[in-house]
Symmetry: none
Subunit: 119 residues, 4 copies
DNA sequence: GTGGTCTAGACCACA
DNA sequence: GTGGTCTAGACCACA
């Protein structure tokens, strides 16, 4: 994974992991990669992953089993709600970033249509 | 202005200023606020504004007149191109952040419609 | 048994076992559960119980008979003294943790009265 | 400060700091010691203090001003509530640790009276 | 000077 | 092997 500057590494990994959880690539109840393993994969220090996991645990998206690893929550309802919040957040951030430079709703939708195929 | 954490202040001010330039609130050829004045307005240290102006000058969106201050470029064509790039960037960042969690183009457009009025 | 974080499991089991010994639930001279059995009951690794028993043996609260198992001491006087020490310890730890935030002795006693029924 | 084993350093510092906040030794709105300064005082690594401050900030007992330091909340009502919770917690932990080894409420109160002067 | 992030790496409890 | 804590210390953004 290639990290942007101007956004902290842990934030980027957190977003990445959340998206995997929300899309079900990391399924409810599934074991997450071990801290050290994930750190190697991401080419970061284990402590950075410790922070990522701690933050997601705080939000109850994942939970710990002592010495056994970290697991995606199996609270489907919570996942549904958090996913919805996450998306709404992204949408609103986007809209407020771009609104002033566009004419109206349709203008933005056109941009979406033009670029949807290219990402 | 309220700053987010996890993104540097100067980046946030740069975006803010670019948007004012692209929307014409800061018109082509217009004088920008003096560093100290802008710093007071934004409640940041003057050094932060120095960096912002330097970065925008680097991108040729603004230029210096020695002792006279900083001015928005009057190269309309450059403004048009940069604005377009800026918007496209935002659109693509948004799309790639959200694509995996949505079904299709229409799905995203619905989110836009739902939230357009609330930002 | 539900373990707290921020305190090691073996410490928590040690306290639990001591209390059973001091209350006589594990009577003087009585045989303690076998390591494996106790480990299963507590849902911990046998090594953890090995450590617990070793520590209590160190304090002479329990003793080994080679292949026959571990037994609660039958030194009643020692039990009396250790129980008393244990309680005094708990009381003093509690008092020093809370003293600065309370007005006086009576204040603490009121807290005891208020909460005695709810634990 | 002398740290106990079997309880993490950061937990002990957190409790220490909370108590200072609840007693008003660190008054509402007051600036807390700088991370590095406090680390030197406590003879621990700055990162440990970072964690302590982060945890208390999470609980809204303290707040950050970028590059200016950390401050005790001035939300008096929140302080009152959290102090009350903290004390109740300590009292209940104490009671459940000692209840089985005592006869009744009065028995415990006697222990409090006996030891109050000696802590 | 102040906090935030990150790395390298050690040591521990527990399985 | 797995996570948790802690240290030493670097580098950055910001004041």
């Amino acid at each position: 994974m290639q990290f942007k500057q101007n956004e902290t590494i842990y934030t980027q990994i957190e977003k990445y992991l959340k998206k995997r959880i929300f899309t079900g690539e990391c399924a409810p109840g599934e074991r997450l990669p071990a801290i050290r393993e994930f750190a190697v994969l991401m080419k970061v220090n284990p402590n950075t992953i410790v922070k990522v996991y701690a933050d997601l645990e705080q939000e109850e998206l994942i939970f710990s089993e002592r010495t056994n690893g970290k697991f995606v929550t199996d609270n489907i309802e919570l996942l549904r709600v958090e996913k919805s919040k996450f998306i709404q957040n992204e949408v609103r951030d986007f809209l407020s970033s771009i609104k002033d430079m566009t004419e109206n709703e349709q203008d933005i939708i056109n941009y979406i249509r033009e670029n949807y195929g290219n990402v």
